[in-house]
């Protein structure tokens, strides 16, 4: 156990750094740049039961200290993820990977998780409940404690792997939703997903993004992440994976002080493809600077 190592649902990570889903593909693109085995793990591209092209373009808009995306969960579908993407990943990543799963009905989530449960490479299932429920009038599963709990329970029934529920910040009471997931059997909570945002082009006087709205991420949302991680960490007894605008090793320490056991890095990977490697390399310096011996000692330390 090195000073950076942490435990996440019974699996030891060499360090808490996890590239967030949707910013790291299936890993092998980044493996051309650096040895991705230096990562704690990574959360692969959001996977659904069926293949998806996603939304029309433009899908991206820039903001001050961040960006909005409306990619729309483009992915090849769980069958191809297992038959094509995971074997490619195996050639460049020896560790357990976090499987990120999305769905538009409870049974979709269960089906996709059941398939991924059979994959030895998968260490955790990270279940994104920010998607609209097609049987629930399009309301996101993650905005309602009962719906979030229903997804959690359905997924827990089909897997023995740790289930981490990834929560949307676009809710009135994040604590109630996190508690409902914990009661339904979740092994961990990850947060925050992107904040709903929008930009308008002054030249065309139209929304920049074809989908009009999208998920706002990047360093601008970091304080929101710290607040929500802190609130949830003080309300549940399961580990938290913190994320939202993390860019530096200092941000990692701050989010862990707020209560995160591990930290995902998202949009920063898109600006600096070496962001995660750089953060990992910089962590020992930051620990020394702030008199921290082991990262695992500081989790939830800010009271």
């Amino acid at each position: 156990m090195g000073r950076l190592s942490v435990d996440l649902c019974g699996i030891t990570l060499d360090n808490p750094i996890i590239p967030a889903s949707g910013t790291f593909g299936f890993g092998y693109e980044f493996a051309e740049l650096y040895d991705i085995n230096v990562l704690g793990t990574f959360s692969f591209k959001g996977t659904t039961k069926d293949p998806r092209f996603g939304n029309p373009t433009p899908r991206i808009a820039e903001c001050t200290a961040g960006m909005i995306n409306a990619v729309g969960l483009q992915n090849p579908g769980v069958e191809k993820v297992i038959s094509e993407e995971l074997p490619k990943l195996k050639k460049c990543f020896d560790k357990k990977v976090m499987a990120n799963v999305s769905g538009f009905a409870v049974e979709d989530y269960a089906y996709t998780c059941e398939q991924l449960d059979k994959c030895e490479q998968v260490g955790w299932l990270e279940v994104n409940v920010s998607c609209p429920n097609v049987h629930g009038g399009g309301m996101s599963f993650g905005t309602n404690p009962e719906a979030a709990a229903e997804v959690t329970a359905a997924v827990k029934r089909v897997t023995t792997k740790p289930v981490i529920i990834k929560l949307s910040p676009n809710v009135t009471d994040i604590v109630a939703i996190a508690k409902a997931c914990e009661e339904a059997g979740a092994d961990g909570i990850s947060l925050i997903n992107t904040l709903l945002g929008m930009r308008i082009d002054l030249k065309t006087k139209k929304p920049v993004i074809a989908n009009k709205m999208g998920g706002f991420s990047g360093s601008a949302i970091f304080p929101v992440a710290v607040r929500m991680v802190y609130q949830v960490a003080n309300a549940v007894n399961i580990p938290i994976v913190g994320m939202g605008g993390v860019t530096t090793a200092e941000d990692v320490v701050e989010l862990m002080l707020a209560g995160a056991s591990a930290v995902e890095v998202g949009a920063a990977n898109l600006v600096n493809p070496y962001a995660c490697r750089d953060i990992i390399n910089d962590l020992p310096r930051v620990l020394d600077k702030y008199g921290i011996n082991n990262l695992s000692d500081i989790i939830g330390g800010a009271k």
Binding site: E29, T57, R59, N69, Q74, L270
Partner: protein
């Protein structure tokens, strides 16, 4: 892909809105038809700019000021440094050119044709070039292509210089073996219909990362989904699916 710090060695204004910047640094692996992605102070996302030329350790880009990022670039001076991701995108496949390819650039789509022209001339091809602009004041690079020994035709929409009309007017009756093009989408669509041979089109899209990670710039093609930044920006005529 490579991340490199480049130093600006030369920066000149070509027209009211178009600038040429020469950057010195590690250019290894840069191919014609690719693009680079430039980080700018205070702006979150990098700015993708096509490669105009690459000679020794000097990378040349020509860009048009269209927004905050390019405005900031226009104010930079020789000696300043830029953080650049290079080697992005697939680039043009010049092996399909045949004996007498035509290169067609429209507006700020002209620069990527330069390196393609240079390499095709070096391969011994009889290279024809059509450059399209709105008006005489916007014309740039004509002499650069002529200096390579290309047969250059300029078209202006208002007829103030060269052939009056669009690049498609200049293409009429021309004898060519294959084509390469880059320009605004209406021009690409018109060329798709007007060309009699196969060819390659370079596309533009708003990008997140520029290196294939975010799926921000995906498009549908006859051969499946492609990322403009990774499997593109160059698509072959046979694989293009136009979306209305």
């Amino acid at each position: 892909m490579k991340q490199t710090i480049f130093k600006i060695t030369q920066h000149t204004q070509l027209t009211d809105t178009v600038y040429k910047m020469c950057l010195q640094g590690d250019t290894e692996g840069i191919r014609c038809g690719q693009f680079v992605n430039i980080q700018l102070d205070g702006l979150y996302l990098r700015r993708p700019i096509s490669v105009c030329d690459c000679q020794g350790d000097v990378l040349t880009i020509i860009y048009k000021v269209v927004g905050k990022g390019t405005e900031q670039m226009a104010a930079m001076t020789a000696g300043q440094e830029l953080d650049v991701l290079t080697g992005l995108g697939n680039g043009y496949d010049l092996s399909l050119a045949g004996d007498k390819p035509v290169l067609i650039g429209g507006g700020v789509g002209v620069p990527p044709m330069y390196m393609a022209a240079k390499e095709l001339v070096n391969m011994g091809k009889a290279v024809k070039v059509i450059l399209g602009f709105n008006t005489k004041a916007e014309v740039f690079c004509e002499d650069d292509f002529k200096a390579l020994g290309c047969d250059v035709t300029v078209a202006t929409a208002d007829g103030s210089y060269g052939v009056k009309g669009f690049v498609t007017n200049a293409l009429e009756g021309m004898d060519y073996s294959y084509f390469y093009t880059c320009g605004p989408e209406p021009m690409l669509k018109a060329l798709y219909k007007a060309t009699s041979t196969s060819g390659q089109f370079s596309f533009e899209e708003r990008m997140g990362c520029g290196f294939g990670a975010c799926m921000g710039c995906s498009c549908k093609t006859i051969t499946g989904y492609k990322r403009i930044c990774k499997e593109g920006p160059v698509l072959k005529k046979e694989e293009i699916l136009w979306e209305d």
